[in-house]
Symmetry: C2
Subunit: 300 residues, 2 copies
């Protein structure tokens, strides 16, 4: 067993998290959250999404958020851009890194973005071209990699095909998302074995949801497979859109606690990260979903 000595944490709270919170929050609160996160040492923050506010009202004002944040050197501030219009808006806002997403499940793709997996990949082509022209890096997400709310089981082979396609189109990294949190450690290891045959492991990331409490076990399983990039959401922002009241994105604080325990470097300061999570939880008027934050505040 040799674990990576360093892990890169991709903080998705301001985007994937807030997008799934019922209550939209102000641009000022978003700016503060992003600044708190960079101050805590996070080197990669997904700040917002350039999509129609008609579909995702929580992401309105992403350009203003980009304009308002303190851009620390060495920190990547990324945006989700599902189509060319979104990419252009992101470029106009000065965004230098974007992300696109595809599903590993046909039914999920149809219900979530109204087209087949193949069609969604076709739609990304002009996004990839324009990004390349502007020297903007593109990260790819694959959702439902360990199960789909409509189709149930998803084959690792299918995930591998979509991942390979995203890489071939120019994504420098592909993040594999257990969107509904149903996966367990053995399936995670199998997934990275199979996908790792198509995409080098150093270009893969894990994106786990804690809906069934499995996220940290799955991250540990991923580390054992040599994966060294993980997406997480401060305070577990986001919840689970497929099971109201249940947990969604794994909390960044809990991931960091695990990594620190394993002696793995991240550059992130746990107390400051916990503070950032407590502040945004107060804004949302709800308790943090991070167990580490809860334990620390109960002990304080």
């Amino acid at each position: 067993m040799s674990l990576p000595s360093h892990v890169r944490l991709v903080e998705v709270g301001p985007r994937d998290g807030l997008q799934n919170e019922k209550q939209p929050i102000s641009v000022a609160d978003k700016v503060r959250l992003v600044d708190d996160l960079s101050a805590a040492g996070l080197g990669y923050i997904e700040v917002g999404s350039f999509v129609s506010p008609k579909w995702v009202p929580q992401m309105a004002g992403s350009a203003e958020v980009f304009a308002g944040i303190e851009q620390r050197s060495g920190v990547t501030y990324a945006a989700l851009t599902p189509n060319l219009q979104g990419l252009e808006a992101a470029l106009a806002a000065g965004v230098r890194e974007v992300a696109v997403f595809a599903a590993a499940s046909e039914s999920f793709s149809q219900r979530n973005i109204n087209c087949s997996i193949a069609e969604s990949l076709n739609r990304f082509e002009p996004v990839m071209d324009a990004a390349r022209q502007h020297g903007v890096r593109v990260r790819g997400y694959v959702s439902c990699v360990l199960g789909c709310p409509y189709d149930g089981a998803i084959s690792a082979r299918q995930v591998a095909l979509v991942s390979r396609e995203l890489q071939a189109m120019g994504c420098y990294e592909v993040s594999l998302g257990d969107t509904i949190g149903v996966g367990t450690a053995g399936a995670v290891r199998h997934l990275f074995e199979v996908v790792g045959r198509e995409v080098p492991r150093e270009r893969l990331a894990g994106h786990f949801h804690d809906t069934y409490g499995q996220a940290l076990a799955n991250i540990y399983a991923s580390l054992l497979e040599g994966i060294a990039v993980f997406d997480s959401s401060v305070a577990g922002l986001g919840g689970c859109p497929y099971a109201k009241g249940a947990t969604g994105n794994v909390a960044s604080e809990d991931v960091l606690y695990l990594l620190q325990g394993l002696g793995i470097e991240t550059g992130v300061d746990l107390p400051r990260l916990i503070e950032a999570g407590q502040r945004i939880s107060r804004v949302l008027g709800r308790e943090s979903a991070s167990r580490v934050a809860r334990a620390r505040s109960a002990l304080a």
Copy 2:
């Protein structure tokens, strides 16, 4: 990596769980809980504790609970008996398996049971003798194996010494408890490596608390070390006595979900286990701490 094909789950909810719930519940509700758990397929249930109700009012009526439960064949119904008086009361109640507990931390031993580790082991001698005379098996617990609320870090070597002592005194199995839930996966593997040199791994069990969200990752790490017995508490009963509002014992439902995902046999039925947990949570007037139970009920 070769995982055990079968795991024995030791259900500690009726004892370790309810003992740490503020609200004492009726004998009838305890009987129902134990019967629900055996009906779900659990083969080992820690039913109660024979201690003075002055110290642990939640455990009053343990004899009545033993008298009231349906004793299914093949199921072990155990009781905690910290001293000879407790053992005699347990024997009078027809108990056929008991447990004793020691701490791996001197400060915890002093504050929790008012004596040193060595003194606590001395106190068990008459318990072990009497149990042997009556053909009653004794299981040993060691608490604070990965950290102590007073002393901080605990050395694996110290845990190994206490565990060896308990085995030498006649405990057929020693359960290593991360009482405050601070341990992470690497420390767990190291612990079993070190303790495994003194006590064979097939005589060791893992007892994890989810206070920092690490329990399932720690169980997965233990499985990778060949450990095949785990203590857990239905609905996560018990909370954390050292951090009010935080999580304590890992929820049995979440452990079972992990094991099922890994293809490991337990003989336990998940939907019936979830039902048992939902029922006792209603009695206590609180939400289940099992993420699996929450996700399933949110989806229902």
